[in-house]
Symmetry: C2
Subunit: 427 residues, 2 copies
Amino acid sequence: MRVGVIGGGFVGTALVQLLTDPARHAALVDGATAPLELVGVAVRDKKRPHPGIDDALLTTDVDALIANDLDVLVEVAGGVEPCRTYLESALKLGVSVVTANKALMAESGTQLAQLANENGADLFYEAAVGGAIPILRALRSSLAGERINRVMGIVNGTTNYILTKMTSEGSDYESALAEAQSLGYAEADPSADVEGFDAAAKVQILSTLAFGTRLSGEEIDREGITGIRALDVEFARRSGYVIKLLGVAERVGDSGVSRRAHPAMVPIRHPLASVNGAMNAVFIEGVKSGPLMWLGQGAGGEPTATAVLGDVLDAARNRVSGRHDIPFSGDTSLHYVPGGALSSVFYLSVDVLDRPGVLAEVAGVFGRHDVSIRSMEQEGFGDEARLSFLTHHAISADVFATVEELAGSDSVESVGACIRVIDGSFE
Amino acid sequence: MRVGVIGGGFVGTALVQLLTDPARHAALVDGATAPLELVGVAVRDKKRPHPGIDDALLTTDVDALIANDLDVLVEVAGGVEPCRTYLESALKLGVSVVTANKALMAESGTQLAQLANENGADLFYEAAVGGAIPILRALRSSLAGERINRVMGIVNGTTNYILTKMTSEGSDYESALAEAQSLGYAEADPSADVEGFDAAAKVQILSTLAFGTRLSGEEIDREGITGIRALDVEFARRSGYVIKLLGVAERVGDSGVSRRAHPAMVPIRHPLASVNGAMNAVFIEGVKSGPLMWLGQGAGGEPTATAVLGDVLDAARNRVSGRHDIPFSGDTSLHYVPGGALSSVFYLSVDVLDRPGVLAEVAGVFGRHDVSIRSMEQEGFGDEARLSFLTHHAISADVFATVEELAGSDSVESVGACIRVIDGSFE
């Protein structure tokens, strides 16, 4: 089995080491049911040192690598283009493709899967969601006959690191972010992570596999964590919750699907609540299977490389027996339900002027929008006061309208967090 | 694809309903890449009502069912014989087999896998460990190229239910067991669960897949939970732990493997600590992947049937493309390391007569056996006192010898628990 690799970064290097480790050779041959030969590793610049990769394997000519009689092409370079073009070329030649590219799979996964199928090749992308966690294979295979109602994941390690710091040390958002940046867990421009774009891309991939949706990447509601303050985290703790950034895909009625990435208050006894630091986890609710959860390292060269390697072995095994996996036919009847249409319990934090009648005024705004208040806490600071609310179940759009009207009110200094509270019915 | 089922109990009935559910038909055809036809369901007594199974499918003639041109035989009846004979007949005919039978797989899994391979058939048994949790497929497939150092599982729902009750409500063992029995979570004779036999069978299956061991089912150290008292659970809580019955398989040095089922104190921040009630979970430490955990329903007709169904689809898909999975070649160089040879931190609870010099005497016993004490708590009750110890890391055999000498001492009323403390280095 001839294997080519695009990308000589952390994941690529770790993969090359796994593929060429003599101590693993027998297990790899067993797993692939054939010896694996690493044909070449395409990198941007051959002159830069690539410790751990034999110089003779390095190339900058991706097209020549693809055309070199490959069985499996691995792409661990990242970015939509030129990777999409490379993968299309390979698939058209009938070469099976393994990729860790979440942006590309979120944008073009369905089309690439179709191209793979037409050319008798496989397209596997386990490492695109949850790093080392073998969740995608479970969805394609173990759960193929199961009807899944909901997928909820902690699928972004950066935001989970930040929120865990805020929870365990009472840090504010800015200092937790700065620490994540200094440790290399967050980029200098952290917006892809903290604004929920990365989690949304993973929701796109997960919901395609879990439900067979054929919806566009825009049909995902997205909220980030930049507005979460230490006091919100502390309120959550006192109330028996932790705040997590969740990627959620769930069925709504017969043919609706809601897809969202947003912070949420998770009950402390829920298995997702104890997923800390840079760990990732995906929680699935199947009609017959009940709840299932997978947990593991969401990033890092070596953990990600193990997921890529599992895919390479799968693709090789398929090729040895002259077959390929058939992608699910999908369910084109499923439609996107905007998040505003859904009901949820919400936590809201509102800073108000501390003067008589303000609470009645604020409560009136809730009432006018049909949002019923379950509990309220008031804390005073001289001229101001902070009101923390938990609502009963309410239509999200009504809650958003409440926030908008409150933000425009003279008595309100600012509306802080508006965070969904996840149902505590687990166990 | 012609499918036959042996067993019309909870799992069998749930499986039949999944296989014949028109709403799932398309997903099943997709998953199997062929229509599935349910040929017959073998039951012990056709005259007993089997709601949910069409009478025309029922048969008592297992041999005729197997010989009826099957593609896949499902066995969800349980018990080693006559199931082993049935499965051998089917495999010899080249029929692929899916079984949920942990006792049979623990005892004869390696031989049956070899028989399947010789006859070009598959042998899948996902439901034999962890009910709905797709852990075995992950070990065979996603992690095929990974070197696994340790597998730790909460793989027995009965004991986890009992220990969770003792933890959350302070119940003693007897009343928690009685409640589990009244709810149907524990058998009238609970010894297979509470003495750790069931967990040991699952350790046998897990270690065969994770390490390729070819060791016998006797080479597993086994301790049950019957000696655990409310005070031990309370001590664990105060010290930041919860007590769980774990199944453990781990590498020791280059070619050793320790396999054990025993209660352990698990640090409260470890992901296994929050696995409560009848839930199961398997925690794996891979050299490159880092920690991975799977969580889900460990029992129940419908959850177990989803795992069986995943295997049926896999087996059908393989048959459509005329192939079968090759079992791992295994590593016959691995040898069993008895638990006594391993080092661990231990918790011990000792009831003593409350008289001068007793503590010095007890401490002397620890010292003579090279067991160093990390902390001690003393609680007095009139003429008696209870000493609770946490040791430093010590050779287990030395701790067992300490317990034995203490038990024979005139000053000691009784030695209560002697429980391993799991390393808290997770995260």
